[in-house]
């Protein structure tokens, strides 16, 4: 068995994604493709402006756009002004690199490793294309490529292991992403939460290890996008049930198999005895 031994939540790296700073330019989406040498995706008109409309095997990072009506505030010479207005909020998204990645737990071939940095990486040479990772992911991230193998964001593991920030972090014009040691980033996220900002990525379902390494923060104005973008609960219930069963079933299966073997052997012996008996009777 390949042990999935993820580093603890406060070790390795993490990223704070402040969507208030995002101008939706999608440089991160392009930088991701370029760094990882992923080819173009054939697209058409996108009704949500998000394009491609979701992740593909070539688009590991996608900026999702959400439209909503929201409260805006403004300090004017006449005093504070609060008003409702339309807003469109971009949410740059990729694999969240769960602290305990269900995809890695689900991978039967050991193709998904979790590095000491906390990067959850599909190693394509070992990927057998079974799709268990896709089923296991609560964020619908891994995508099957035309070669039958699965692809997703690697946390730019080949950059962060060599002293560089992820490509999307580096390219961002407005500093949406803060990359750093997980302990520091989590602390930043907690202090943003304490200021009353909406934070996504802490205190999640144990299914993802209770926390992810790409933590999102937004003001009230853009909180609607966070709500729309992320699932209510970071869990895939069927897979969770399967994992529970996994814990129970193997010992039971062993017991069952042994039991069955005993029964089988007993029944074989019984039938052998009966056969022998009847043979003896025939002889006799």
């Amino acid at each position: 068995m390949v042990a999935v031994n993820p580093p603890p939540a406060n070790e390795g790296y993490a990223v704070l994604v402040d969507i208030d700073k995002c101008i939706g330019c999608r440089a991160c989406q392009v930088a991701c493709k370029e760094w990882n040498g992923r080819g173009p995706t054939e697209t058409t008109f996108s009704p949500t402006f998000t394009n491609p409309p979701t992740y593909t095997a070539n688009d590991w990072k996608v900026v999702f756009f959400y439209e909503g009506t929201t409260k805006k505030g403004l300090t004017t010479p006449a005093g504070e002004l609060v008003f409702e207005q339309v807003d469109i909020a971009p949410v740059p998204s990729q694999c969240l690199h769960c602290v305990n990645a269900p995809c890695a737990r689900a991978c039967p071939s050991g193709a998904i490793s979790v590095t000491p940095e906390g990067a959850v990486v599909i190693n394509k040479d070992q990927c057998i294309g079974c799709g268990f990772c896709e089923n296991a992911c609560p964020y619908d991230v891994p995508r099957r490529g035309s070669d039958g193998k699965y692809y997703k964001c690697t946390f730019c593991v080949d950059r962060i292991q060599n002293g560089k920030e992820p490509a999307c972090v580096e390219v961002c014009p407005t500093g949406v992403f803060t990359f750093g040691p997980a302990s520091q980033i989590v602390q930043m996220a907690q202090s943003e939460a304490a200021k009353g900002r909406t934070v996504y990525g802490l205190n999640l379902n144990p299914y993802v290890g209770g926390q992810v390494r790409w933590i999102y923060v937004s003001s009230d104005r853009r909180a609607f996008a966070i709500k729309q973008h992320f699932p209510k609960d970071a869990v895939v219930p069927t897979n969770e049930a399967r994992e529970l069963l996994k814990e129970i079933v193997p010992p039971l299966a062993l017991v069952g198999a042994v039991g069955l073997t005993i029964i089988g052997v007993a029944s074989w012996r019984k039938s052998r005895i009966e056969e022998q008996k009847s043979a003896q009777q025939q002889k006799a």
Binding site: M1, I23, G24, C25, R26, A27, Q29, V30, A31, K33, E34, W35, N36, G37, G39, P40, T43, F45, P47, N51, P52, D59, E67, K72, L74, T75, T76, P77, A78, V86, I88, A89, P90, A106, P108, S109, G110, S113, T115, V121, Q126, V157, D158, R159, N162, K164, E170, V171, P173, T174, G175, E243, K246, V249, P250, L254, G256, A257, L260, S267
Partner: protein, 1175 residues
């Protein structure tokens, strides 16, 4: 059938199932070695990164000036990223910059020169198309059928054809022989030279130089269609047409009004806008009918009706003068600025206020569709955060782009209004108070500068001689020893023409200063281009023959060019790196014109839509395959290095143009007037004490001036291509020929200052050290015109904000400065000293003083042609020194040792003092003869009431308009346009508004041609304008089209770029926005019954296109004057060529133009929208 399972069978299945379930966790491949470490670039195939060569280039997209590092191995590109050291992008990039490498290795790149063999699409067939699909069908029937040829064949073909056209013109008109001499009248020349705003400064300069040598003033570029209105309106108000401050300024503002969309068009600007938000809580307000990504990033979105910007700006002043207490004109700072820095009197202010009084909140709300409370909030925020109100503790910025510039009232009203608001609120010239028109293309500022803004103006904005009399006055000026304005005695016979009220030596006014500014430019070009402009003999300016190699007069603009071709007066065109077949308004007229040319030469990296009509297509090098300088939108000039060699046979435009010259010359296409007159050299003489002193003989060497081969010292050529045509030599030529670019090369140290990539701030005590360190301005990076000034008109900001003047030690002296001075090489020490002391002010350096006035030719008579090529300092000129005993002629060494000015050849001894820096901003500017507002008001009322009366009588706004023009003897006759007033677009959605605020378009006779569908080939075609909804609806009903009338405007997105010729061919960008769409509001969508993604048809007086609808709450559906006015934003960056083709927005936009600069009105026009009938 029933399935029966025996007990034993069930047991077996259970066992297998149990094992299978347990397998994934219990029986995973236990011995696999998991990969846990990766080398840099291993995942994306970039393992060569570590040993890669890193070359900084300047991005080819927008005007921010971001640096892109190319990581290469030989000619292959491994990776590109933002340069971490750049103070503009700090390692970041936008998606266009990030994907820009895809322009270099692109399968669609042209790799060989090509000559057309197929017939061109017939103009009449093009013009007859009513829909985009019909047009594409016509065009595709006439493909170019290119034949690949060698460069030599292509150049020879072009040269022979052009020589035939020009010789034909010369023999039929006699040019350049004129009755009083030898010169070309530039507008009559049948050649047009267009482009580009994307090439380097050296290339733009060379294309302008080529036009001059061809004898044409018909020169223009993309800037005509983007910011020509900005440049003109700002230059006429502040002295210069550029953005007033560099990008660091936006982080110092307290409030920003975006009449624009920089989050999409200039994403990296948001590094600094966000810095302001973070550090000082800058309030961002987005005025835009569309909820753009700038609106997303702003505190407040104010949707308004396109084309009503002036009304909004005038209301801001209305609030300031009439609603706030006390009114701003009672504030001491207002009064100080009015006395010291604006050109207005109390009477002028009263006249302005009389006009402003009419723009009360309700009136402006009715015009713009902005609710009252929102308008008031806007005005309060802007005025209360202004310099004049806060004593310069706070400032506001007006930031704009095409949304403001592309209107028929852009110069006279909209941008003038912005410029005036900034002045009156005390923002201009103070940190955080810039006037920020963000430019479009990567080098549009530089190309504008070095092509003089087009129309035959010379590099650096020196207007060409307009008549032969100008040349005579110029010759007299030369005889006076090339004096500055204060040393110039305007001869009696020239006073009227110069228009000066200070003709005598010792004094100067603006007219005199501007005349000398032009003369000074002509002289520099004479020296650097090896040509002649003056009289023969030079001694007799009044009666001699005028011989001038600089074409006289201004020429045709790019927007008017198509009609000149269709009329037959322009027969050939060169288009370098530009795509007017997509970017021109009413584009089928442009296509018809391009098809009608006898010779069209296009140089580009792809087969663009414009190339479809070309006779010869030349493969240009991409931005990363050549070197040279680019000037970003806020005037910072940076060097872009060559990262990889040109692909295939492609070549840099500098190589193409310089070689073109040689072939054109050989074929006899170029004939200089001085050659026709037999002038081979110039006898330089100075008039001293009533006598003419012979100073020196200057040989004319026009061909030598085109020899850019070789290069020494810092100008070592970087490859074989540059050894043939070296942009570093061209760069040096610009440094000496173009006053505002003086400083890009340091001849004392032999360094190119634009190559400086030092992001440190200067320290107090250094030149502009206090300014740099206090306001965080990166003055050690690159070079900025003028004289490395970053925040223009920054005359006294240190004094006003810090409360005391600053002391600078430089060139062995102490200097007391009050603002930003910039720097210039000192003629005594060769070190840098502050240039504009005590601070830069309006119009500087158009106003300057010159120590060598009356003493020596420019740069002391140094043989500059040789110097820039070899570094050898030969002084052809002498120094004329008057002594008690007489006039002495000294050589350089003697003069230099007597005066100490050993470096006079480096700076031409220019300097600025209180006289030169005392010019005031032209808050009041006269555009036409007539009176001020109060005087004009009765005429205005009469014009409106006649228009209403005739409209009611005739039921037709066009007929009523023509009748008013006839009856009143003109349009807006009698108004100077000294103040900006709101005027409707030509195609107004509300006829009452069109009558109440008549469009300014008819001030320009060209627009009347458009109105009357001239020239004749346009008659009966769908190419005109509809002045009101009723007219458009009637026109379309005849075609069976009914729908909802909307106000149309156009826009780009972050992912799209102008004509789309680049981004549509870049897979990573095409993926993000593959096709055009129209952005419509939910309310309009319901009205016409479409959902997002459904196809809609958009119809105008020019035809119809079909695109998908993008439905959102973020699009204006306004209540204007009690009427419902939906707005539609159309993405326009598509056309028929390349893999991602789509309907062109400009197929349906109008080609009416601004009366002053002829910029097109593509931001506010009328359309009819309906759900596309299913086929």
């Amino acid at each position: 059938m029933t399935v029966t399972i025996s007990r034993r069978g069930l047991l077996k299945i259970s066992a297998i199932a149990a094992l299978a379930l347990g397998l994934p966790s219990a029986a995973q491949t236990p011995f696999i070695q998991q990969k846990t470490t990766w080398a840099l670039g291993e995942i994306g195939g970039k393992l060569g990164l570590k040993s890669a060569k890193v070359t900084p280039t300047i991005c080819t997209f927008c005007s921010m000036g971001c640096s892109i590092d190319f990581y290469t191995n030989g000619s292959s590109i491994i990776w590109t990223s933002g340069s971490p050291e750049s103070y503009i992008n700090w390692g970041a990039l936008c998606p266009k910059g990030k994907a820009a490498y895809q322009l270099v290795d692109n399968p669609q790149r042209l790799d060989s020169p090509m000559i057309r063999t197929g017939p061109k699409p017939p103009p009449d067939e093009i013009l007859s198309a009513k829909t985009w699909d019909e047009l594409v069908a016509v065009l595709k029937r006439y493909p170019p059928r290119w034949e690949k040829v060698s460069w030599e064949q292509a150049f020879t073909y072009i040269a022979n054809k052009l020589a035939a056209i020009l010789n034909d013109w010369r023999s039929s008109t006699g040019a350049p022989v004129q009755k009083d001499g030898y010169y070309y009248v530039g507008s009559q020349n049948p050649v047009m030279v267009i482009g580009s705003s994307i090439v380097t400064n050296e290339e733009a300069y060379l294309s302008r130089k080529l036009a001059a040598f061809l004898g044409t003033s018909n020169t223009d570029s993309e800037y005509r269609k983007c910011h020509s209105s900005t440049v003109t309106a700002l230059a006429l108000t502040y002295g210069w047409g550029a953005e007033t401050a560099s990008i660091e300024d936006v982080a110092l503002a307290d409030v920003v009004l975006f009449f624009s969309n920089p989050a999409e068009a200039h994403p990296l600007s948001f590094y600094y806008f966000k810095k302001g938000q973070r550090e000082r809580g800058t309030i961002l307000i987005a005025l835009n009918p569309n909820y753009s990504r700038t609106a997303e990033a702003s505190d407040l979105w104010i949707p308004f009706r396109p084309g009503t910007d002036t009304a909004i700006l005038n209301y801001i002043l209305h609030y300031a003068f009439f609603e706030r207490n006390p009114p701003i004109d009672q504030l001491p700072e207002f009064q100080r600025l009015m006395a010291q820095r604006w050109n207005i009197t109390q009477d002028d202010l009263d006249d302005l206020k009389a006009m402003i009084s009419e723009y009360d909140a309700q009136t402006v709300s009715n015009i713009t569709g902005i609710p009252l409370d929102m308008l008031r909030t806007l005005a309060q925020l802007y005025v209360e955060n202004s310099g004049v109100v806060t004593g310069h503790k706070k400032h506001g910025i007006i930031q704009w782009a095409m949304g403001m510039t592309q209107h028929t009232d852009a110069v006279l009203s909209i941008i003038r209004a912005a410029a005036i608001v900034q002045l009156l609120l005390g923002n201009v010239g103070y940190p955080g108070g810039g006037t920020h028109p963000f430019r479009g293309h990567s080098n549009v500022q530089g190309a504008t500068d070095l092509q003089g803004g087009g129309l035959g103006v010379l590099p650096g904005y020196h207007a060409p001689p307009s008549t032969s009399l100008d040349v005579r006055i110029y010759q007299d000026w030369k005889l006076q020893g090339m004096p500055d304005a204060w040393s110039w005695e305007v001869p009696q016979w020239a006073v009227k023409s110069v228009g000066t009220s200070a003709p005598s030596k010792g004094s100067a006014d603006v007219a005199k200063i501007l005349a000398v500014f032009n003369f000074y430019g002509w002289r520099r070009f004479e020296l650097l281009w090896g040509i002649y402009c003056g009289t023969v003999p030079p001694d007799d300016p009044v009666n001699g023959k005028v011989v001038c190699d600089i074409p006289l007069g201004t020429g045709v603009s790019e927007t008017v060019f198509p009609s000149k071709v269709l009329e037959g007066s322009i027969k050939a065109a060169f288009i370098f790196g530009e795509n007017p077949a997509v970017t021109d308004p009413n584009v089928k007229v442009t296509m018809a014109a391009l098809s009608s040319l006898q010779l069209l030469v296009v140089s580009d990296i792809f087969e663009t839509e414009t190339a479809w009509f070309a006779d010869v297509l030349l493969p240009a090098a991409s931005f990363a395959e050549k070197e040279g300088t680019k000037t970003d939108g806020n005037r910072v000039t940076q060097w872009s290095w060559r990262a990889v060699p040109p692909r295939g046979q492609s070549r840099p435009d500098y190589w193409i143009i310089a070689n073109l010259y040689k072939y054109l010359r050989k074929a006899g296409a170029i004939l200089l007037p001085s050659e026709a007159a037999g002038v081979k050299s110039e006898e330089v003489k100075f008039r001293k004490r009533g006598q003419l002193i012979f100073v020196y003989e200057r040989p004319l060497r026009p061909d030598y001036s085109w020899d850019y081969s070789g290069g020494t010292g810092a100008a070592q050529p970087v490859s074989d291509i540059e050894a043939e045509v070296n942009p570093r030599i061209i760069n040096k030529e610009i440094n000496f020929s173009t006053l505002i670019y003086q400083g890009i090369y340091d001849p004392v140290r032999d360094t190119f200052t634009t190559m400086r990539r030092d992001n440190s701030l200067r320290k107090p005590g250094e030149i502009d050290g206090t300014f740099s360190s206090t306001f965080k301005v990166y003055k050690n990076w690159g070079w900025s015109w003028p004289m490395n000034v970053r925040f223009m008109y920054n005359y006294d900001s240190l004094q006003v904000i810090l409360g005391k003047p600053d002391v600078v030690t430089a060139a062995g002296q102490q200097w007391i400065v009050t603002g930003e001075t910039g720097e210039i090489i000192d003629e005594f020490t060769g070190e840098y000293r502050p240039a504009f002391v005590p601070g830069h002010n309006f119009f500087a350096p158009k106003s300057f003083k010159r120590r060598l006035s009356g003493i020596a030719d420019l740069f002391g008579g140094l043989d500059l042609l040789t110097f820039i090529r070899t570094g050898q300092k030969n002084f052809l000129g002498k120094f004329v020194v008057e002594t008690d005993t007489g006039v002495q002629l000294l050589d350089f060494d003697t003069f230099a040792s007597q005066t100490g000015m050993r470096y006079l050849w480096a700076n031409d001894t220019l300097y600025w003092d209180q006289d030169t820096l005392s010019l005031k901003a032209f808050l009041k500017r006269i555009f036409y003869s007539g009176g001020g507002w109060r005087q004009f008001k009765p005429t205005y009322e009469k014009m409106r009431s006649l228009l209403r009366q005739y409209y009611q009588q005739l039921g037709d706004l066009k007929a009523a308009t023509l009748k008013v023009i006839q009856e009143m003897g003109g349009w807006y006759k009698g108004y100077t346009f000294q103040w900006p007033i709101h005027a409707e677009p030509v195609e107004s959605p509300i006829v009452d508004m069109a009558i109440q605020y008549p469009t300014l378009a008819w001030l320009n006779p060209y627009n009347l041609e458009v109105l009357n569908q001239q020239p004749s080939i346009l008659q009966g075609k769908m190419v005109g304008v509809a002045l009101e909804p009723k007219e458009l609806q009637t026109m379309l009903q005849q075609l069976g089209i009914n729908g909802v009338t909307v106000v149309m405007t156009t826009n780009r997105l972050t992912e799209t770029w102008h004509s789309g010729s680049m981004n549509r061919r870049m897979p990573d960008l095409a993926e993000l926005v593959p096709r055009p769409f129209a952005i419509i509001s939910k309310k309009l969508a319901q009205q016409i019954g479409v959902n997002t993604g459904d196809y809609v048809e958009l119809w105008t007086a020019r035809g119809g296109i079909k695109v998908r609808a993008y439905v959102t709450e973020g699009e204006a559906y306004l209540n204007v004057n009690g009427q419902q006015v939906p707005v539609v934003n159309l993405l326009w960056s598509w056309s028929f060529e390349g893999p991602e083709a789509g309907p062109s927005g400009n197929f349906i936009s109008p080609d009416v133009v601004d009366p002053v600069t002829t910029i097109q009105e593509t931001k506010a026009w009328l359309g009819v929208i309906r759900k596309a009938p299913s086929v």
